[in-house]
């Protein structure tokens, strides 16, 4: 049975992104996934994600979240990394709002229904103000994982 911990663990969460721009943030989060063994070829994965950001004009939303994502064979298992940026980074939101909540989604090639379903559940939660507030206020990576686990009932 899939649980949230298959997708996101405290080790793939940081409450303090050092990155000063979107590309650095993507790389910083990808490193967390690489350390977990979810991303096998970080460079290629980051390239895919960055290219997609450029193509689509960025995944930043006006609510301050960004969801850079990439589906590539450089990913071995579906995974989610989360980073909070104190100053906010430009992910191309429509009104220029900097993104402070960054969800990096890694999806492997091919279909993996169950995991994709979980990812999409999380994506849906991002719409809710209360969820975003909780993520902004959480003190530790583990607290963030707990919030996600709690909110995204499986």
């Amino acid at each position: 049975m899939t649980t949230i911990s298959d997708l996101i663990t405290a080790t793939s969460v940081t409450t303090d992104l050092h990155a000063t721009n979107a590309e650095e943030a993507i790389d910083e989060l990808a490193r967390l996934l690489e350390a977990d063994g979810r991303v096998t070829d970080r460079q290629r994965y980051v390239e895919t994600v960055v290219a997609r950001e450029a193509e689509t004009g960025g995944t930043g939303m006006e609510s301050g979240i960004a969801i850079p994502h990439g589906k590539t064979s450089a990913v071995s298992a579906p995974a989610l990394a989360f980073g909070r940026s104190a100053k906010g980074l430009d992910f191309g939101a429509g009104d220029g709002t900097p993104s402070d909540l960054i969800f990096l989604i890694a999806a492997p090639e091919g279909e993996d229904d169950l995991h994709v379903r979980v990812l999409s559940r999380i994506a849906r939660k991002l719409i809710h103000e209360s969820f975003r507030t909780a993520l902004r206020e959480a003190a530790t990576p583990q607290a963030i994982v707990d919030i996600i686990e709690q909110e995204v009932e499986l």
């Binding site: 689509t56 995944t59 939303m61 006006e62 609510s63 969801i67 994502h69 589906k71 939101a93 429509g94 009104d95 969800f103 989604i105 999806a107 279909e111 229904d113 994709v116 379903r117 990812l119 999409s120 559940r121 994506a123 849906r124 939660k125 991002l126 719409i127 809710h128």
Partner: protein
């Protein structure tokens, strides 16, 4: 207010889901009912047909094309990117509500910012309007078929016209540029000049496009009725309509039969393995077999009988009053445009030509030219009676009419047969009678104005065609204005 929405994005994980959630939340906050279908990797269940039927408007929040968009053709639409739906959800819900209140029919490009390139569907959405009554439902089915057919009509018609224009219209039909055994034949092999050869190549390509008219029409009528499972039975039914030479009316019958059969199959309750087998095996096999058997065994026979009976009847009329004969031949040419009745009249012209009576052939060709010409004229003088797709088809119809490619009228006739076909028949009958009254003659079996050199009494011949064209246009405009309910009339005006 009842809303439906489709969200979709290329990776289908994040944006489509977020947009769906955002729309659901915003619509509920505003007290609207909403059904959202996510077309993505995870995907969700399709919106129940009932919900689509009773909906007031549809929202497309999409970065990729909408699958099975025909389901929503009758609804006012707001189309945005997923991001916009996520960032400005409330405004988009308001726009959908507004569209529903104004019943703004969707015209190409109107509310669609960066729309996903489904212009053709948009064009026809504007015609189909809101209706849920049986009649309007049937109209939507026909319009869907027609919308997919138009490119084939235009491509085939213009290429054939080009062939007649640049080369000898008779010579191009008498050669075959490709033989499966010997391959491509050069002008030298065929003993013809290069221009004639090019004309023959154009004719071959255009003719192939025309061969697809009826299958595509039938296929997409069935598709509109029964979604994807309808397509294969519809196309095969259309091909069989070609085989039994039932023309586009036969194609409409094939499409409706195929759609009805698959719709019925879908109602069969099935569970487990059987349920999975339905779309893979049952719909295609039973659908194709069913429509195929009906087309061959039930529709084919009367068509053949019509061919035989009408042919004999016309031959019997040969000695009768020329004006009467012209009226009858003309009306027959316009009745089904390439179908059995048209073919009988044309064959009668050919036989007369071989027998040395050149006047019948002249009447046949003139009567075959006025349907596209009259419709083209109608789309110019009363634009508002036609949707954008039809107006575009109208432009190509000028060329097709002038080239005696009667098929140029089929999109109009298939979309609204009850009003259009009688109009075409009256106009063509007028022209047929006038052509014979003027004793115009023609020594070629086709070619339109491109064979004006072998037409006897050409000036009066053109007068006959012009009068028939005006009569056709007047009839079409009159019937379309008369028979139109207020609601319908308002729709294409947008």
């Amino acid at each position: 207010m009842k809303l439906v929405a489709v969200t979709s994005c290329p990776t289908g994980i994040a944006h489509s889901e977020m947009a769906a959630e955002a729309l659901e939340v915003a619509a509920k906050e505003k007290g609207h009912e909403i059904h959202v279908e996510v077309q993505g990797a995870a995907g969700g269940p399709p919106i129940p047909a009932e919900a689509i039927k009773s909906a007031d408007a549809v929202i497309f929040a999409v970065d990729a094309s909408v699958r099975e968009i025909e389901r929503f053709a009758h609804l006012p639409k707001v189309e945005v990117r997923t991001r916009e739906a996520i960032d400005r959800t409330a405004g988009i819900v308001d726009r959908a509500v507004e569209a529903a209140q104004n019943r703004t029919p969707v015209t190409a490009g109107a509310p669609a910012e960066g729309g996903a390139g489904d212009e053709e569907e948009d064009v026809f959405a504007s015609v189909t309007g809101q209706g849920t009554s049986k009649g309007e439902e049937a109209r939507r089915w026909l319009m869907t078929g027609v919308s997919y057919m138009i490119p084939f009509v235009v491509a085939g018609g213009i290429l054939i016209a080009l062939s007649f224009a640049i080369a000898d219209a008779v010579a191009v039909t008498e050669v075959s540029v490709f033989d499966p055994e010997t391959g491509l034949a050069t002008p030298g092999d065929l003993g013809i000049d290069t221009i004639t050869w090019i004309g023959a190549v154009l004719l071959t390509i255009g003719g192939t496009a025309f061969g697809m008219l009826v299958p595509i029409l039938a296929g997409y009528i069935a598709y509109a009725m029964a979604d994807r499972p309808g397509l294969a039975p519809g196309i095969v039914g259309g091909l069989l309509a070609n085989t039994v030479e039932a023309g586009f009316l036969g194609g409409i019958i094939a499409g409706l039969l195929a759609g009805a059969i698959v719709m019925a199959l879908k109602r069969i309750p099935a569970k487990g393995t059987l349920k999975r087998m339905m779309p893979i095996l049952v719909y295609p096999i039973i659908g194709v077999l069913g429509v195929g058997a009906l087309m061959l065994l039930v529709v084919g026979e009367p068509v053949a009988a019509i061919n035989q009976g009408l042919g004999d009847w016309l031959t019997g009329l040969s000695g009768a009053n020329q004006i009467l004969l012209g009226l009858i031949i003309g009306a027959m040419m316009a009745f089904d445009m390439g179908g059995p009745v048209n073919k009988v009249a044309y064959a009668f012209g050919l036989l007369s030509l071989e027998a040395g009576n050149f006047q019948i052939m002249a009447a046949v060709m003139a009567a075959g030219m006025t349907p596209p010409l009259g419709l083209a004229l109608a789309t110019v003088v009363r634009k508002q009676l036609f949707n954008e797709g039809e107006r575009r088809a109208g432009q190509a119809a000028w060329v097709m009419g002038a080239s005696f490619i009667t098929e140029g009228a089929i999109p109009f006739a298939a979309a609204d047969p009850i009003r259009v076909i009688p109009s075409l028949m009256v106009g063509s009958a007028t022209t047929g009678a006038l052509s014979l009254a003027f004793s115009a003659s023609l020594q070629a079996p086709h070619g339109g104005i491109w064979v004006i050199g072998v037409i006897g009494n050409p000036l009066l011949y053109l007068v006959a065609i012009a009068i028939g064209t005006v009569v056709t246009a007047a009839m079409v405009v009159g019937l379309k204005s008369l028979g139109r309910t207020e609601k319908e009339a308002a729709v294409p005006a947008a």
